[in-house]
Assembly symmetry: C2
Homo-oligomer: 355 residues x 2
């Protein structure tokens, strides 16, 4: 991690577009050698478009998956292109009637670069008033909200009184899932990677959170919930998924949102060998694909903002500065080095304008 | 396989109860050394009970799973007890008003023995008129009907025009699933273990059936259904499940009814490493547990009898004679040696009486 601070960041209004471009497909974790920070072309604004100065880049596990060739839900990032990823910036110029300078804007998946031009009519482009809480937007709304909410409601079929298990509960998605499950009337058990994370997870609504590095998870889960879990919200895969498959209640739902433990593996990762327990427990394992919920995202967002106002939705961010730190900050997701939502701030917020 | 014929079978009305009892827990496939054919006690008939002379024993993969210690949906068969299993026999005596001698009766899970006493009020005991087709009952109704029907309808959410893939399609459950899927308006692709089985599967409703021993399944499935399958009806697990997980259509349902390829494995079998494709395809994997459908079994049975009358439900049986052949006939399910429903006939049908 390079030790940059806000003071090292370029002036936000300088029209120069630095980009982190992909040079080679990563083998395992993304390495700094796989990318290059270059002075890219400044994008040109056309009719119906908006020009955005990116301020915050959000680090999501999915970013890693987009770097591999394969059958993902989006095409692989091309060699030479800026790494794809979500973020928030300020609209600096607009040639679209719905947008005005000073608004916060996500710009679809703007990627790891300073400046982006987006089509105002692109359904993935959402703008917000200048006073919008862009950090909550990054940390909760734009990354975890739909996954946690629809994962629990639509796929998890959550009911009051359900017993829910959440892995990576101190992570950005897990921590939102813990709180959403609690807010929806369930009791929650978390699994996280450090005592600090566990205590935080307990402070935001888990009845108990187990440290996967120090606790005998199999024994403790059985002890805490002898009848098993109605929902297992999985974003780690691997051994913990296998273990959870042995602790299902009758009729349980296993919601698979990803497998952090596998994103960097080459070849075929091992599958969950206890999947046959789905038969014994009349259970199902359901894959959550955010793209299927695009039309309904606002429903999840509204609930999250409501919960935020009611002080029932806490969050943490792990913020580093400068495009040079994107790779390390992405990798933190997989090593568990970060606490809360990992993000990179690439310039000072230029404020609401005028510019 | 011992070469016994119907002529070698004991007189059905002799009151002597031979049993195949478990002597040791099998390591891998059940071996003849793990069991012993003994002269067991003749069961005594009490009030409200019926005495059944077993005629046909049906071989189901689940029988093997009941021999292991573990967390199954039924307790493990005890050492010294008759091996548990389904079958059909004639009621020879009745002390329950709903049953009369001459009726066919399943007697719950009577196990591998000549004579059984059952409680007339036991909900798992079903009797049928003397002229009932006991072999169709064994081959389709009592073994595959509920699994195929509810697996496709309730769990598979089958719709007209769906594309369905069935593995072990020449087996007893698979062949019923192929026909049920076709009868419910889907197009069906089968996978089976020999050319003979494949041709039969095609004759009963699959558009095409692939020989897993000679065909490049990955390539052929992609070629036959480029858009993937809406339903995969799995009763083999292992490599074929993994392969099918790569050929799912958006929103697909993978119905897991068992894993013949794993029943005889000790330790943790490998899980399906392509399970993460459930995310990309917004798909789910659902475990079928027959016990959950007991109250609704008649719904499946009625459909099967209707289809039988309409000549839209064919079946095959692989019949051997004598309790001495139970072990080999059970193992045939796992080696693929049988074609159609494996059963053992242990005496001549004593007919409808009077006895």
């Amino acid at each position: 991690m390079t030790d940059l601070t806000l003071a090292d960041m370029p002036d936000p209004l300088t029209r120069a577009n630095r980009q982190v471009v992909l040079r080679s497909r990563p083998d395992g974790m993304l390495k700094n050698d796989d990318v290059e920070v270059v002075d890219g072309p400044m994008p040109e604004l056309g009719d119906g478009q908006i020009l955005i100065r990116m301020v915050y880049l959000q680090m999501d596990a999915a970013v890693r998956s987009w770097l591999d060739e394969g059958e993902g839900y989006l095409p692989a990032v091309e060699i030479g292109a800026a790494v794809r990823g979500g973020g928030m910036g300020r609209i600096i110029e607009s040639r679209h009637p719905d947008y005005t300078p000073g608004m916060w804007c996500g710009g679809g998946l703007p990627g790891w670069q300073d400046w982006v031009v987006a089509d105002g009519d692109d359904p993935f482009v959402n703008a917000f008033p200048p006073e919008h809480d862009a950090v909550f937007q990054i940390a909760v709304i734009a990354s975890a909200a739909a996954t946690a909410y629809f994962g629990l409601t639509d796929l998890g079929e959550i009911k009051e009184g359900d017993s829910v298990l959440v892995s990576a509960a101190g992570g950005s998605t897990g921590s939102v899932a813990v709180q959403a499950a609690r807010n929806l009337g369930a009791t929650v058990v978390g699994i996280a990677g450090s005592d600090d994370k566990c205590r935080w997870v307990e402070s935001i609504g888990a009845e108990v959170c187990l440290n996967r590095r120090t606790e005998d998870l199999a024994a403790r889960l059985k002890e805490i919930r002898p009848k098993g879990f109605d929902i297992y919200f999985d974003n780690v895969g691997g051994d913990i998924l296998d273990l959870a498959l042995r602790r299902l209640a009758i009729g349980a739902r296993v919601v698979i949102i990803g497998a952090i433990s596998m994103y960097n593996d080459k070849g075929r990762p091992p599958g969950p060998s206890n999947y046959l327990n789905l038969i014994n427990k009349q259970a199902k394992m359901v894959g959550f694909q955010g793209m299927a919920y695009v039309q309904r995202y606002p429903e999840a967002w509204e609930r999250m903002w409501d919960w935020r106002r009611e002080e029932k939705m806490d969050f943490k961010v792990d913020r580093k500065f400068g495009l040079e730190n994107c790779v390390d900050q992405l990798n933190a997701l997989f090593t568990g080095a970060n606490t809360g939502k990992a993000m990179v701030q690439i310039c000072d917020d230029p404020g609401p304008g005028p510019y």
